[in-house]
Symmetry: C2
Amino acid sequence: MMRVGQPTNGKGNNMRGAVMYGPGDVRVDVRERPTILKPTDAVLRVTASCVCGSDLWAYRGLEDHDWPVPMGHEYVGIVEEVGSEVRSVRPGDFVVGSFFASDNTCEICAAGYQTHCVQREAAAPGGAQSEFLRVPLADGTLVATPGMPEDDLIPSLLAASDVLGTGWFAAVAAEAGPGKTVAVVGDGAVGLLGILAAKQLGAERVIAMSRHADRQRLARDFGATDIVEERGDDGVARIRELTNGLGAHSTIEAVGTQESMMQAIRATRPSGHVGFVGVTHDVSISGLDLFFSGVHLHGGPAPVRRFLPDLIRLIWERRIDPGKVFDVTMPLDQAAAAYRAMDQRTAIKVLLRP
Amino acid sequence: MMRVGQPTNGKGNNMRGAVMYGPGDVRVDVRERPTILKPTDAVLRVTASCVCGSDLWAYRGLEDHDWPVPMGHEYVGIVEEVGSEVRSVRPGDFVVGSFFASDNTCEICAAGYQTHCVQREAAAPGGAQSEFLRVPLADGTLVATPGMPEDDLIPSLLAASDVLGTGWFAAVAAEAGPGKTVAVVGDGAVGLLGILAAKQLGAERVIAMSRHADRQRLARDFGATDIVEERGDDGVARIRELTNGLGAHSTIEAVGTQESMMQAIRATRPSGHVGFVGVTHDVSISGLDLFFSGVHLHGGPAPVRRFLPDLIRLIWERRIDPGKVFDVTMPLDQAAAAYRAMDQRTAIKVLLRP
């Protein structure tokens, strides 16, 4: 296993990587560089990583961990070395991966649910906010781009590794499509990219729930046709006003709180679909409320791997620009400032360059 | 409104009907015969009715009501009289209806969710366990059979009005179909007819969860290929053993308790579908459990009306025999005994003949 929190002299087999020592305490340490442990592993030189909304739960003291913890699970990079059994990627390839490693061959993967792969494990066990990263099950987890990307495509490819794939899954789970009105609860990077996904999937109308001018602008950029600033009961009432009293056909829940989940269910018409991807903390759904809502409910950790080939193609052909969610770029050494900016919502999403 | 609990002399405009005066207290009263109140109403002479598993919640003191309450919401009968705006059924027609009245024209009905119709109201406001019944929104609610049914078809047509339609919806919500393994939690009439529905929809394997020999027999009659007697954790473990460690593709939840709901979710593989139709009482679903289960969850009051034309046809052509769930038939006057038999599970389902 990677040793954590032991500064070394920065030479030879060492690297820099972000480590959380406890709530609010992120440091960039010099750490041991990862190596191939299993013949199915790959080691990447990380080109870009970022801070995830889900990292903030730990940062805010709302998740318990055995500190210190190496951070980061979103990454793009160049393959440095592969294990003896790896066939689909080779050193020098530029690759995108998801936050869970998957074999991409089991029955669950074949059904498109790679985040529940029977061999599932963390794809970035050593933390992706670092210079190098070991990725298990490389053949099933990593997807190579058609060539070396131009630099301006890096943010979008990085977005594909989690927030775009997650927003896309939410839109698919909510059955966004032609003729549908889609409501989006949550104006973080995932919610914003859920808007982009709904639009790409052909939704007729996309209602963004947001009260922040900068996020509203990005929402409109990505395809939102309406903005609702109200929350809770008022937000639900406003969605109903906009949908002939019935509620949205499809609702994306991209927050993960009790209020946001109930707002999503109640904003959806009977027969409609709620796609929920906010990591649910202390959320409890009343069976009777769900029974009488008549909605379909589906979500969970997004099987980003299912969508990666399509998303990479859309980005490569410059048909979508999800990288716009990165409104701030920092060097890896400033990881602590990146977490602060995300926590205080002065940044939508911070890209880290090693 | 129908007056309840006022015995009259049994002549003229009166009829007999079952009334619950409180938990465990069902009586057959002589009551006022219903009449057309709105031009969209129909009045039926009830041919057969029955006691529903959902009636038992009140009978067992687990639901609060303003007593006394006229009982029954499952019915087949002959149209006696229609309001001036009714077009699709006429006096003399033999009809089947669902427990909610619906216009069958609104956007929600058009989506197949008639139980959430924007004009929804109770279809048997005066109680269907009676000689006559007023049904609102007759055009949208009632479906006429191709002719006067032979007597042996009456139980199956009555089953279509609720338990068959509900089991069918559960199987559709669980996406039962070719190549699928379907698990069924609950061996009441709805669960048993969920088995029949899964089989009709082409499921490869249907696993019934039941520990009662008579219900196991009926389950096999209806198409169950496997029986699991274990419940809770052991039941889930057994389902996993039978499904290569993965869980069922589709699970029908036809009970409505915390244990049965969690058993259904946990017995289902990631990517799978849970169709829940047991009226959920005090059920609370952990958002985090649902998030990491990877299942699709859908259910609620079954839009029986969506399926009635198909179900009537299958019954009329004698391709299915759902009426077998009625293992006891009693005259309406013995309604109290019918409730006792259902409550004590000495009967699967009791048919009442006025």
